[in-house]
């Protein structure tokens, strides 16, 4: 497949460069906006090169009370809220899906397949579809304005259960038999053999679920009224329409920049495992 055709090379590189620009330019503009003060940002044309206000903007955004004229939580608290929610959702999803997939694959109990299909059918019921009844349940349980209310309704996951089921099905039966001869009970087998074998898949799923949790918008908007429970994704939208004055782009863009950092950190730090988890088939 190694060919040397200058025209083809040029076109493929052109496509790649355009793709990079399409993705990177908005991020660059966000970054530049976060380095100028409010007055510069209100003038046209938009600056394309960084200014010297990044540190001041960061300080004001993270620890100030947000936009002038509104009473919002400091952004560090929002980051913490978002992080808690994303972690609870992703770890909760992984724990529950691992256990339910383990039950479905390795135990014979009545209505096993019925259980599997019931879990599977919930794929058709994402939170947006069941938002009113779910809200009712969460409200009745007194979980509004709490981390539990933010995360629990999003934890059940058919996709992850299904994925772990497929992963477990590729583990050879002899592995279980060998463990049985070695005297390992079911939970011991789960901890000592199955979990380490699914390590890369767990990591891959964690990346996807963390970003899914981090980006939740509708659900947190619905169940949090207390400003101290606001998540960062919600707040960006709120900042745009906050107050009657013109938007403070320097603060908004700094917030947006801060909101990007945790998902990027997760993706980069788990990249190797992520790729292995999606491509590795050898068990």
């Amino acid at each position: 497949m190694v060919e040397n055709r200058p025209l083809a090379n040029f076109i493929t590189h052109l496509v790649l460069v355009l793709g990079v620009i399409a993705i990177a330019l908005p991020i660059w503009i966000t970054f530049v906006a976060a380095t100028h003060d409010e007055i510069r940002m209100a003038q046209a044309p938009l600056p394309l090169w960084p200014g010297n206000q990044l540190w001041i903007n960061l300080k004001q955004t993270l620890f100030g009370t947000g936009l002038s004229g509104t009473e919002t939580a400091p952004v560090w608290l929002m980051l913490f809220n978002s992080l808690s929610m994303a972690l609870m959702i992703s770890l909760g999803k992984i724990a529950i899906s691992l256990l339910s997939a383990f039950a479905i694959v390795y135990f014979k109990f009545p209505f096993r397949m019925t259980c599997f299909w019931m879990i599977f059918i919930t794929l058709m019921l994402p939170v947006e579809v069941r938002i009113l009844p779910t809200f009712e349940v969460v409200a009745n349980l007194g979980m509004l304005n709490s981390y539990w209310g933010l995360s629990i309704p999003l934890i059940a996951s058919a996709t992850a259960t299904f994925m772990f089921r497929q992963v477990f099905l590729t583990v050879p039966d002899e592995m279980l038999e060998s463990a049985r001869i070695d005297g390992a009970g079911p939970m011991r087998f789960f901890w000592d053999i199955l979990l380490p074998l699914s390590r890369t898949n767990i990591a891959a799923l964690f990346v996807i679920l963390f970003i899914f949790g981090w980006n939740q918008y509708l659900w947190p908007l619905l169940i949090t009224t207390d400003t101290s429970m606001t998540t960062i994704v919600m707040s960006i939208k709120q900042m745009l329409e906050a107050a009657e004055q013109s938007p403070q782009w320097n603060i908004i863009m700094t917030t947006a920049l801060l909101a990007m950092i945790p998902p990027i950190f997760v993706v980069i730090s788990m990249q190797k495992l992520f790729v292995q988890g999606l491509t590795e088939t050898d068990k």
Binding site: E177, S178, R180, I181, A184, D192, P196, L197, K283
Partner: protein
Amino acid sequence: MADIKLTDLTKSYGPTEVLHHIEGDINDGEFIVIVGPSGCGKSTLLRMVAGLETVSSGEIQIGGKRVNELEPSARDIAMVFQNYALYPHMSVRENMAYGLKIRKLSKAEINRRVEEAADILEIREYLDRKPRQLSGGQRQRVAMGRAIVRDPQVFLFDEPLSNLDAKLRVQMRLEIRKLQQRLGVTSIYVTHDQVEAMTLGDRLMVLNGGYVEQFGTPIELYDRPASVFVAGFIGSPAMNFVPATSDNGVATLPNDAQVSTSLGGHSGSVLIGLRPEHLIPDDAGAISIDVEMVEQLGANTLLHGTLSGTDHAMVASVAGHVTADGDSQHRFRIAPDLVHLFDLQTEKRLAI
């Protein structure tokens, strides 16, 4: 160390019975090979002894104790799987130690046993490697090491050599045999390879369609096969079968050639069995073969053809080099006590 007793053992999946009334006594320290074509139930039988399959009826005793209801780990057995089933995320040392760790042996004792087994199998230098860094033969050794460290009463082998290349298979076959003799542990070994079976086993259990065809030493099976199936399965190239009529020690072949047998006092239709290596070239011999193809194997030569005047396929194995072109007739004789006779209907051996 223990003897194993199988009494009236059957296995059914729903209404289908796959193993029928298996009986067998295995002595302490004996090496038993269960052999048969694929689908004959040999692996199922082994897995029943291991406790990985339930027993439908009958009884398995290990060391005089009924084990039907015991978990595999409580039966004091160790098993070597065809694909080795090593835990891929553990090092060789951890793989071997895992069962001992669960049995809560002391660290020092675990180390002592693992290193002893590693010395026996000469895998000490791989102890800290992962299974995927090992070759097939080395993995095979680790799988055996895992069995040895448990110091079990019984070794169970489920076609452990079939994933290896031919040369390594021969070498490992010898090593398994030496190891078993050295440790003196009762062993059951499943294979479909009759050469492996003949060379490894003190005794062979030949299974066919879920029935025990014959249970005896390799030489008994070769010299006095109990049925047409065993006769055809043991020995290579396979025995020639020709229908004949037997009359008081003389069998008449379809082409009217007469062969003397050692079966007196019997008359009727029979199936006659002649091993290719027992046919001795003799220009005055009774058996004549129209040779169609010659295979030179170096030490001996195989002559393929048909019994003259009929279309019954025949093979003769002749020592040394024989130059014969296709389409020539060769005559052979055979000693009367090497002629096997089987009942035409039941395919069982007629007593001699």
